[in-house]
């Protein structure tokens, strides 16, 4: 009897144990179901606002439609501000967002310090424009992914302005200089080319266009790597023979705040404006836009917006899912808007582009692409580069001193 009681007790305990485990499993299943239905929120930080943000929001909307369980919250931060916030937050093991758009060199720096997730599992380098991942790759590890890119293809003009004054786009360097002189003689014109000013990048874009026209992508890359000095005869000749004579002849205006410059140029106070492709989304009538690259241009800057996934994200899997979408299908959506951007993911076709960008995309496709010089070097030198170019624009006679400063400030290995 005693034994039977014991057996019964064991049986009862066993049944209860199985019941508890079974209910646990069922309960677990229920919990899992609840969790999958529950929406999680991913935070994204990027540099856009206004019309640029509207274009990016189209990408976010498409992602949310595909992933109803994920909500994306966007915040605008300038890269300059992020550069002070992120290192401190990362050091304390925290992050202000799950996916952050930032300078390529900065992402690489944070990656080597162990603050950023490797993206090799979601990024296939073969699917991207060659060299585009170099900035964010260190020792074969990919720390950042590229989104769409702005190209800096040349000098924009209004077709209506050229028609009104009987001007035609130049085919040679001499024709280009002749065109500038022709424009200078037009009454009411303050200068043929308006120089955009901000912290300094519009002037560096112009300079890089000259470097790549007369030195090619190879020279640009060597300057980025520090393999060629700024006082090198090849570099010096581009400044002395091409850029400085134009500055001295007064073909460029003094630097003017770059968004104000758009208005002045559009009003006809200036005829040409060197700006990135995002300009197409900033003018009233993008169909009136024409583009003049320097004759004989060999390469153009393709400057992508890079992003990273900080290691400290609370939702690594979902953040990687979003990262993959933005780096691939998101690009297709983005180039279809008025963003004025070009795809870095090769699966995007010409048909995917917004109509006014199709011609630009064709121009860029026919030349070699190169990374943005100052964005690639970054750090203190980037600001020095911008600052020295501002000086060159108003005092071209100080070229020697400027090139020397650029060499002195270049990061040492």
């Amino acid at each position: 009897m005693k034994t039977e009681k014991m057996l019964f007790s064991f049986l009862l305990v066993g049944v209860l144990a199985v019941a508890v485990v079974a209910s646990g499993c069922i309960g677990g299943e229920t919990t899992t179901q609840t969790t999958t239905v529950e929406q999680i929120t991913l935070k994204v930080i990027g540099p856009w606002s206004g019309a640029e943000l509207d274009a990016f929001n189209e990408v976010i909307k498409a992602f949310e439609a595909e992933h109803p369980d994920i909500k994306v919250e966007y915040k605008t931060y300038r890269a300059e501000d992020l550069s002070t916030i992120l290192p401190l937050q990362f050091e304390s093991g925290d992050t202000p967002a799950d996916l952050i758009f930032m300078w390529g060199w900065f992402i690489a720096d944070m990656g080597t310090k162990g603050h950023v997730m490797e993206l090799g599992q979601i990024i296939n380098p073969d699917e991207y424009v060659p060299g585009i991942l170099d900035t964010v790759t260190v020792d074969g590890k990919i720390y950042g992914a590229p989104f769409t890119a702005a190209a800096k293809p040349g000098f924009w003009y209004r077709k209506s302005f050229f028609e009104e004054h009987g001007l035609t786009p130049p085919e040679t360097w001499d024709e280009f200089v002749k065109l500038l002189e022709q424009i200078k003689q037009i009454p009411g014109i303050k200068a043929p080319i308006v120089s955009g000013d901000s912290v300094g990048w519009p002037l560096s874009d112009v300079t890089e266009h000259f470097i790549m026209t007369f030195g090619g992508a190879e020279l640009q890359q060597k300057l980025i790597n520090g393999e060629v000095k700024w006082q090198d005869p090849q570099v010096r000749s581009i400044f002395e023979e091409r850029l400085v004579p134009l500055l001295e002849a007064g073909y460029f205006s003094d630097p003017i705040e770059w968004t104000s410059a758009v208005e002045l140029w559009w009003k006809g106070e200036y005829a040409l404006y060197f700006m990135g492709t995002w300009l197409t989304g900033m003018v009233d009538d993008p169909t009136d836009l024409g583009l003049i690259s320097l004759p004989g241009v060999k390469a153009m800057v393709l400057a992508p917006d890079y992003f990273m996934v900080p290691k400290y994200t609370s939702h690594p899997n979902e953040a990687l899912e979003l990262a993959k979408f933005i780096a691939t299908e998101g690009q297709r959506i983005h180039v279809g808007t008025s963003s004025g951007k070009l795809a870095t993911w090769k699966e995007v076709t010409m048909d995917d582009y917004w109509e006014p960008m199709k011609d630009v995309a064709k121009v860029v496709a026919n030349v070699e692409s190169a990374p943005d010089l100052d964005d690639s070097v970054g750090g203190e030198w980037q600001k020095a580069f911008w600052d020295q170019l501002k000086l060159l624009w108003v005092q071209p006679d100080r070229l020697d001193e400027i090139l020397k400063t650029l060499d002195e400030k270049f990061p040492k290995e």
Binding site: V199, G379, Q382, D387, Q388, K390, L391, V394
Partner: protein
């Protein structure tokens, strides 16, 4: 009983100390500590030597014969040399002109002068930028009207004018403070003193020299000390108006510190400039405290 009495002040100080230790005292010591290290190695005064010998801080090759850049430290000194007397005497002059009830609209004019003080410094910097921009700004327009073409330019774009554009703009912003302080000081001087001086046959200049100016001395000390502090820590106005350029021609110490910190990610050099700035600002601050005691 005596022991508890001696502990009483400490008890009242405790809440403030609890906040100050982690948020003020520790960061100060940590900054000083950082300034003696490079790549986690103790380097003594090496960082100080490198920073102070850098042409970004002192550029004696160009100063004073050539146009700026002269180095951030010299720019701060130039800033003090122009900005300090200008704001003190402009503020005093406006306060003297607009005192009493005999000037119609005096309070409106004072409000306009004080406007510079109430707008955010970033906005002030933007206004300065446009104020000195050729085509948009009033300053180049005035020089153009006067036929001085050399100054009818975008001041912030040229090394010879960028620093002075920022300083002149800053005078506009800060004069309101000086004027307000002197207006309050003038209002506190009893009328009897002036009546007695008039009876004694003193003229306006004598009254100013022997009555007004001596009685305004405490105000002047505050204005001078506060202006010195403002001049040494100037950052936002320059950051927005010129960015320290072109070619470093308007760089100041606080902005250089920011550049070391945010651009070069060199926290040790940034700490060196921070320590130098703190030391420099402590001089007028201590002077002010002692004079007031």
């Amino acid at each position: 009983m005596r022991k508890s009495k001696s502990l009483t002040p400490l008890f009242f100080l405790l809440p403030a100390l609890i906040l100050m230790v982690p948020f003020v005292i520790y960061p100060v010591f940590k900054t000083v500590y950082l300034s003696f290290f490079l790549d986690d190695k103790f380097v003594g005064l090496e960082n100080y030597k490198n920073v102070l010998l850098s042409p970004d801080i002192v550029n004696l090759d160009r100063f004073p014969t050539n146009s700026p850049p002269w180095g951030a430290l010299i720019h701060n000194v130039v800033w003090i040399a122009i900005h300090l007397p200008a704001t003190v005497f402009l503020g005093l002059g406006i306060a003297l002109l607009l005192r009493g009830k005999e000037i119609k609209g005096a309070s409106v004019i004072k409000s306009i002068v004080f406007l510079g003080m109430v707008i955010p410094m970033i906005v002030g910097g933007l206004i300065i930028r446009f104020l000195f921009e050729e085509g948009a700004g009033v300053i180049p327009a005035i020089f153009k009207a006067l036929g001085i073409e050399g100054l009818a330019i975008t001041w912030t774009a040229y090394p010879k004018t960028a620093l002075f554009a920022a300083i002149l703009g800053s005078i506009w912003i800060w004069t309101g403070f000086s004027m307000l302080m002197y207006s309050a000081g003038l209002a506190s001087i009893p009328k009897d003193y002036y009546e007695a001086a008039l009876i004694d046959g003193a003229n306006r200049f004598q009254i100013f020299k022997n009555v007004t100016w001596p009685l305004l001395k405490p105000i002047t000390i505050v204005v001078v000390a506060m202006t010195l502090l403002w001049d040494l820590k100037i950052f936002d106005v320059v950051y927005v108006a010129t960015g320290g350029g072109p070619g470093g021609a308007s760089m100041v110490l606080a902005l250089q510190m920011w550049d070391y910190f945010a651009r070069a990610l060199n926290y040790n050099y940034a700490a060196v400039v921070a320590v130098l700035l703190t030391t420099l600002t402590l001089i007028p601050a201590l002077w002010l405290i002692r004079r007031r005691e």
